[in-house]
């Protein structure tokens, strides 16, 4: 991880040098990123050379579960507008519930209750516009 941060810090510092427009301001947009970037490079380099602590990465089976959850979360951001709020949220709650080890029918039931309830709370009660039906179903 130290290596990754070192590379990012180095790129960051180099990029800072390109913002060389100074008018009316003594430091300009360049100096502060360099002040941050250089110690960051030093610190990450020292972590590469003298690492501390060991990390127990989760077992592969767990990792799959995490990836599945991430896929659901990203999927939600992609489906929210096409499918509309209640449908996408139903899928989100049901799927995450199942991934977390809930009985499937209970998770589906929870999603079926909570998704419309949340929509009613936010859209109807609080006046936040949330599409009930997504772009897929509503022809312009």
């Amino acid at each position: 991880m130290g290596v990754v941060i070192f590379v990012i810090a180095a790129l960051y510092t180099r990029q800072a040098g390109t913002y060389a427009i100074t008018f009316g301001d003594v430091l300009g947009p360049t100096v502060f990123p360099i002040i941050v970037g250089i110690p960051m490079m030093l610190l990450s380099a020292s972590l590469v050379v003298f690492p501390t602590g060991q990390v127990d990465w989760p077992a592969p089976q767990r990792m799959w579960r995490q990836l599945a959850a991430l896929a659901v979360l990203v999927g939600y951001t992609l489906t929210l507008e096409p499918l509309g709020f209640p449908l996408a949220t139903f899928a989100l709650i049901a799927l995450i519930g199942i991934i977390l080890g809930g009985a499937p029918w209970r998770a589906v039931l929870l999603g079926a209750i909570m998704a419309p309830a949340l929509w009613a709370l936010f859209d109807q009660l609080l006046g936040l516009p949330l599409d009930f039906l997504g772009e897929l179903f509503v022809a312009d």
Binding site: M1, V26, L27, T52, A69, T77, I93, L130
Partner: protein
């Protein structure tokens, strides 16, 4: 006297029907969030912030609601510590050491009552301290110039690095990642877009609320997924909720000592409630563990850390309100909310918006009384709600998080940013890198850069202005002291890591 009359006006504001309603709701939700394992004050407040935006409350009411939640979490954390031996949130870890053994010995009612009263005393002492010291600190901070603020921010990062307990290099690195993120967007002074990768979404910079919710709430879901999902141990059944009052009275000195230690820990920037309860427990053990009863269900071992964590959480509000430098993770999140509502905490807050400050302080007094009532006679409700299974709780939290963030800007890009920050937060937590300095860097980075550049403009490019005033020199000396202390602690911890792991487990 001036403080009293300001406080009186504060009570007038806090007693409006809306604010009382929010206070009650916040106390209830907070206790529940605290009691539920897996959701702590930082996550809870982070998830609720977008919701307060959605409701459209003014800054005072939003703060009253969220601070009630914050205080409530501190009360609630002990419930699952005592009954389940699982800390409801991080600061409640120390309470498991003596609280669970007490419950096993059939003294659950006493343990709950002692910790409830201890929470009340700790939090009340902290709020009194807040009313007395915050205005004084704010008055002193009026004299700070741009160079002094720059020094103050450096001090804040150094203290966080020192006290967090892990490798100080990682903590500093975390703060720097935050500073890097803070420079994304249009440069505030010259208007040059920086690190935006030509994406217009990034021109406004990284929205702190989106980053926070991702870092804390989404990463918590990922953390949860790697743990075993076996059913939680059954809670210890409690026959009667009525405690023995004598048992509470006997722990009075432990409560007072714990409050004092916790309060000091809370005021230090970056220390926070977890450290407050830890230090309170250790101090109490050193003064009164004469018969070796600590760790086996000594009531004083419950009273001290609970008083400590509540006192620390109140104390942490002092630097946040009067200097704009948060003292803990949760106060950092509260700071992010205030900034998003266009309220800039700091010395001027006390002059320009006394209604907000004193309304909040007054409501905190009321919150303590409400929480004492919620946590003593009505504790049965929470012990039942606490058993909500994780598989049902977390999906709802995820959904509420998404709606809340989506409602701020109606932008799917923000949701994607949130998931990205969730992954980042998860990876950093796995690597033992504390997230609080990152948040602090993200929040303070803009101001830090602006103050540096303002100072340099005043001096016309002469770097020596940074150490020209006695205030900044004093702050740099403190910084150097803290850094030295943290290196010393890290070296010592390295030697003692074996022993530490035993107490943490």
């Amino acid at each position: 006297m001036e403080t009293l009359s300001l406080l009186g006006q504060g009570f007038v504001i806090a007693l409006s029907p809306l604010n009382i309603g929010l206070l009650l709701m916040g106390c209830f939700v907070g206790t529940l969030l605290g009691a539920l394992p897996g959701l702590g004050p930082v996550n809870g407040v982070a998830v609720l912030i977008p919701l307060t935006f959605a409701f459209g409350f003014d800054p005072t009411s939003s703060m009253i609601l969220l601070c009630a939640v914050y205080f409530g979490c501190m009360y609630g954390g002990r419930i699952s510590s005592i009954l389940l031996n699982i800390p409801g949130d991080e600061p409640a870890i120390m309470t498991t050491l003596d609280g669970y053994p007490m419950a096993v010995q059939g003294q659950a009612a006493n343990a709950l009552a002692i910790s409830g009263v201890a929470s009340f005393i700790g939090a009340t002492i902290a709020v009194i301290g807040l009313s007395l010291f915050a205005p004084i600190l704010a008055r002193a901070a009026i004299h700070f110039g741009p160079a002094d603020y720059f020094a103050l921010y450096i001090l804040a990062f150094a203290t966080i690095g020192g006290i967090a307990g892990v490798d100080p290099r990682k903590t500093l690195l975390s703060a720097m990642i935050g500073l890097v993120l803070a420079t994304v967007g249009l440069d505030p002074i010259s208007g040059v877009p920086r690190y935006t990768f030509d994406s217009f979404h990034l021109y406004d910079g990284v929205e702190p609320i989106v980053a926070l919710v991702g870092l804390f709430a989404i990463s918590e879901i990922l953390m949860l997924l790697e743990k075993t999902l076996k059913d939680r141990p059954k809670a210890i059944p409690v026959g009667s909720w009525l405690p023995q009052w004598g048992a509470i009275w006997r722990t009075r000195w432990a409560m007072l000592r714990g409050s004092g230690v916790g309060f000091v820990a809370g005021v230090l920037p970056g220390a926070g409630a977890s450290l407050g309860s830890f230090m309170a427990y250790v101090a109490e053990k050193q003064t009164s563990n004469k018969k070796g009863t600590f760790g086996k269900g000594d009531p004083r071992g419950v009273a001290a850390p609970e008083a400590g964590n509540n006192a620390a959480s109140g104390g942490a509000l002092i630097p946040m309100l009067s200097l704009g430098v948060p003292g803990s993770g949760t106060t950092a999140v509260l700071l992010a909310m205030l900034v998003s509502l266009n309220v800039q905490p700091g010395p001027l807050l006390f002059e320009r918006q006394p209604d907000l400050v004193w309304g909040l302080v007054a409501s905190l007094y009321m919150a303590n009384i409400t929480l004492l009532i919620l946590n003593l006679p009505m504790i049965g409700i929470f012990t039942r709600l606490m058993m909500t299974p994780t598989w049902a709780l977390m999906p709802i939290v995820a959904a509420v998080t998404f709606v809340g963030v989506y409602s701020i800007s109606n932008s799917v890009f923000d949701l994607e940013m949130m998931v990205f920050f969730g992954v980042l937060g998860y990876l950093l937590r796995k690597l033992d890198v504390s997230l609080v300095p990152l948040v602090l860097g993200l929040l303070l980075g803009g101001d830090m850069e602006r103050n540096l550049r303002r100072a340099m403009s005043i001096s016309d490019g002469d770097w020596s202005i940074l150490i020209a005033s006695p205030i900044s020199i004093g702050l740099y000396i403190l910084t150097a002291g803290f850094l030295a202390l943290s290196v010393w602690l890290a070296v010592r911890d390295h030697r003692q890591s074996q022993a530490d792991r035993l107490t943490e487990g």
